[in-house]
């Protein structure tokens, strides 16, 4: 039997889901979701992790629903707090939606394949936008739905409106993200718009994170704000929160507003996407020429910093990964006291964390590895130059912090510098020893690709930050804190990835 004969129509079945007419809007959305799912590596492990993680909101949701089961159907006292949470949710969703919208505009290759098919372009683009809306809403639905379902079972039937409001907020957030993208594109041009949006996105995420840590950083201020939230905001600002608890008129208004926003923004964005050029034009990217001169060390060092400086997306992603460190750094200032000693610890942690991101990009991700390997430069020399590039931005950050700390505590400042260097070298070594070479474009998912590595890095940085503080307080426990990263690094060295030839 020939191969062609063996390829039965059934073999193509997974390509066409049952009941979805090929080319229809749901079929296109399904296609998009499938492609996104397949682009993730280790699907089984990820699914298992997702299921395990899902147990947490289920447990928390049921527990919280039980705790508030005696509350009235419309808990007026909670309206202010819920309204504040919804504002935070909207901001986070806008940030997430904007990242997806940017990617949608940039990754046009597959989009153009679909646009070249005999299907209405508006439908193809609407499907793409619907996939963004789904991706934005899904994590928050997974987090909150157990609570609403459990509350409904415990007597708050109207609270089943909650997931609908989450979807409505996702639709509004995606609509706002699409409108912002369109507006910035027109005002600044695609290149600058992307840079501005990414920087704003990081700042937005950082603000939300910082706000979440307010009870640690500024407990008094936080208490005052919480007290203020006990008074519900005036109408119509309380409508989203009222809709959450199933108040019919605000709920209908929220749903109508979300659908209208989604329809209008989809129409405008679809036109923009259809009209956009097939690839970012480089004509407007004329920049002041970088100079590469001197020794191969200088050339490689200059190349790395130039590439980094010219990639706003990478800088944004580094910024985002640094934002994720905010809760950890907040632990250093847990009781609200900001002392020079604690700032020194925080500087060590942040310097090491920044070096880790850069080490991944510079040491592990090289876009032209064969070029460097075929150049008359030893591997060790290339590594030294790249390591110097890795250490430069953390050095700027740590030295700046050290100058601030030095005003009040010169000794803490002096200790901070070598400890931050050790932290930076430790995280760089961990990256170098555990990563196979890869493309820079994979940077966004670097923590997702190895949870163990992320945990190990946090332990090393946490131990070095703790050691800094313990040394400054004259405690011998500092030796124990230093032993932790030493042991971990020793373990990583033993199981290190050997460079492929």
């Amino acid at each position: 039997m020939t191969a062609a004969a063996r390829l039965r129509p059934q073999a193509l079945a997974p390509l066409v889901p049952d009941g979805l007419p090929p080319g229809s809007l749901p079929w296109l959305v399904w296609h998009d979701v499938r492609v996104k799912a397949r682009s993730r590596q280790g699907r089984f492990g990820r699914l298992l992790a997702l299921l395990l993680l899902a147990l947490l909101p289920i447990g928390a949701g049921i527990g919280f629903a039980w705790r508030v089961h005696a509350a009235p159907m419309l808990p007026v006292a909670a309206i202010g707090a819920v309204a504040a949470v919804l504002v935070g949710l909207l901001l986070v969703m806008i940030s997430s939606a904007y990242a997806h919208v940017l990617r949608m505009g940039r990754d046009r290759g597959e989009l153009e394949l679909l646009l070249s098919a005999p299907l209405p372009a508006a439908r193809v683009l609407a499907a793409r936008i619907a996939a963004v809306q789904a991706v934005v809403a899904l994590p928050f639905l997974l987090l909150t739905t157990p609570f609403f379902l459990a509350s409904a079972v415990l007597g708050h039937g109207r609270w089943l409106a909650g997931p609908l409001v989450v979807i409505a907020v996702a639709l509004v957030a995606t609509a706002l993200a699409l409108m912002i993208a369109t507006l910035l594109d027109r005002l600044l041009g695609p290149g600058r718009a992307q840079t501005v949006a990414q920087v704003v996105g990081v700042m937005l995420a950082a603000s939300v994170f910082a706000l979440g840590q307010a009870p640690n950083f500024a407990p008094r201020w936080f208490s005052a704000q919480m007290a203020a939230l006990e008074t519900p905001p005036p109408a119509p600002w309380d409508w989203p929160a009222r809709a959450m608890f199933g108040d019919p008129a605000p709920l209908l208004f929220m749903l109508a507003l979300a659908l209208a926003a989604a329809a209008v923004s989809t129409e405008i964005a679809a036109r923009r996407l259809e009209a956009a050029p097939p690839a970012p034009t480089s004509a407007e990217r004329r920049a002041r020429a970088a100079r590469f001169g001197g020794s191969p060390f200088g050339v490689l060092y200059g190349k790395e910093l130039t590439l980094l400086g010219r990639d706003p997306e990478l800088i944004t992603q580094i910024g985002q990964q640094m934002v994720f460190m905010v809760p950890v750094v907040a632990l250093i200032f847990a009781d609200g006291q900001i002392t020079p000693q604690r700032m020194a610890s925080a500087g060590v942690f942040l310097g090491g964390a920044l070096a880790s991101s850069l080490a991944w990009l510079i040491l592990c991700a090289e876009d032209a590895p064969d070029l460097i390997a075929s150049a008359p430069v030893t591997r060790a020399a290339a590594l030294r130059a790249k390591l110097a590039a890795v250490l430069t931005p953390p050095a700027v950050l740590v030295v700046t912090l050290a100058l601030i700390v030095a005003i009040r505590a010169p000794l803490a400042s002096l200790l901070m510098l070598p400890m931050a260097l050790v932290a930076a070298l430790a995280t760089s070594a961990m990256q170098l020893w555990t990563r196979a070479p890869m493309k820079r474009s994979a940077f966004r998912n670097r923590y997702r690709s190895s949870l163990l590595m992320a945990v190990g890095e946090f332990i090393v940085l946490g131990a070095l930050a703790a050691a800094t503080r313990l040394i400054l307080s004259g405690s011998w426990w500092a030796l124990a804190a230093l032993a932790v990263p030493a042991a971990l690094l020793g373990g990583v060295w033993i199981f290190r990835v050997q460079p492929a030839d």
Binding site: S282, A283, G293, L307, D367, D370, L371, A375, P376
Partner: protein, 244 residues
């Protein structure tokens, strides 16, 4: 009087990946000052062989020397004489062609004034002068290939190794690249190329080697390869007969 050193000498070269033998005791000698076409079907071991010559992969066994320099013992000295141009251009999208050439020149320790002069010449020759300060990220495949070729030529390597150099080039650009390779040889350089366009090999190469399953099947000039066969035998016919 000593015979001139061959540009490339390979003895008993072997390489296996995860149990698959890619190169199996290959012996090869490429005289200096010629264009040498290394041909073979997909998976024959051409690219693996050339990657080992360029110092990008380490052989399991065998010896490689470039102009008498042992590639394994003295990799830096060997690389100094060599340029490697794979089928996928080795570029940094965020650099401009001018910056890219300055970067390559720095790696090969070329004096700045020489680098600037050669960069201007190469960019001009390849029709890239008006794009010299534009980042490569929006370039077409053919333009990227031209920038990469300029990078390979800027340090005037004694041995230029090209893997499918004409991929993605339009007719005019392909002609230009062929002319530049011929000029490189006229200036005393040696060019080793792999190609699936057999007419290119037939018309450009002084010597042709055909490998199959990691071993050299036949080697010689076109006339030597066709000897004993009927007149007008093409390289394509020979290739299909020998490499299949």
């Amino acid at each position: 009087m000593h015979a001139p050193l061959p540009s490339l000498q390979i003895r008993g070269l072997a390489k296996a990946y995860a149990g698959h033998v890619a190169v199996d005791g290959l012996d090869l000698e490429v005289p200096a000052g010629q264009i040498y076409a290394l041909l073979g079907p997909n998976g024959a071991g051409k690219t693996t062989t050339l990657r080992m010559v360029a110092g990008l992969a380490r052989p399991d066994a065998g010896a490689i020397s470039l102009f008498g320099v042992d590639v394994l013992a003295e990799p830096i000295a060997a690389k100094q004489m060599l340029a490697w141009l794979p089928d996928e251009p080795l570029l940094y999208d965020k650099l401009t062609p001018a910056e890219y050439l300055a970067f390559i020149a720095g790696l090969w320790r070329l004096p700045a004034d020489v680098a600037a002069r050669r960069a201007e010449h190469l960019l001009s020759r390849l029709g890239l002068m008006d794009r010299r300060d534009v980042r490569c990220e929006g370039f077409s495949r053919g333009m990227k290939q031209k920038v990469a070729l300029a990078g390979a030529l800027i340090h005037e390597p004694r041995l230029l190794i090209l893997d499918e150099p004409l991929t993605g080039l339009d007719a005019a650009a392909a002609r230009l690249v062929k002319d530049m390779l011929l000029e490189r040889v006229a200036d005393g350089g040696t060019v080793i190329l792999t190609t699936h366009i057999l007419e290119v090999a037939e018309r450009m190469a002084q010597r042709i080697g055909i490998i199959r399953a990691g071993r050299l099947v036949v080697e010689g000039s076109m006339a030597e390869l066709a000897a004993g066969r009927e007149a007008g035998t093409t390289l394509e016919e020979l290739f299909l007969e020998l490499a299949a």
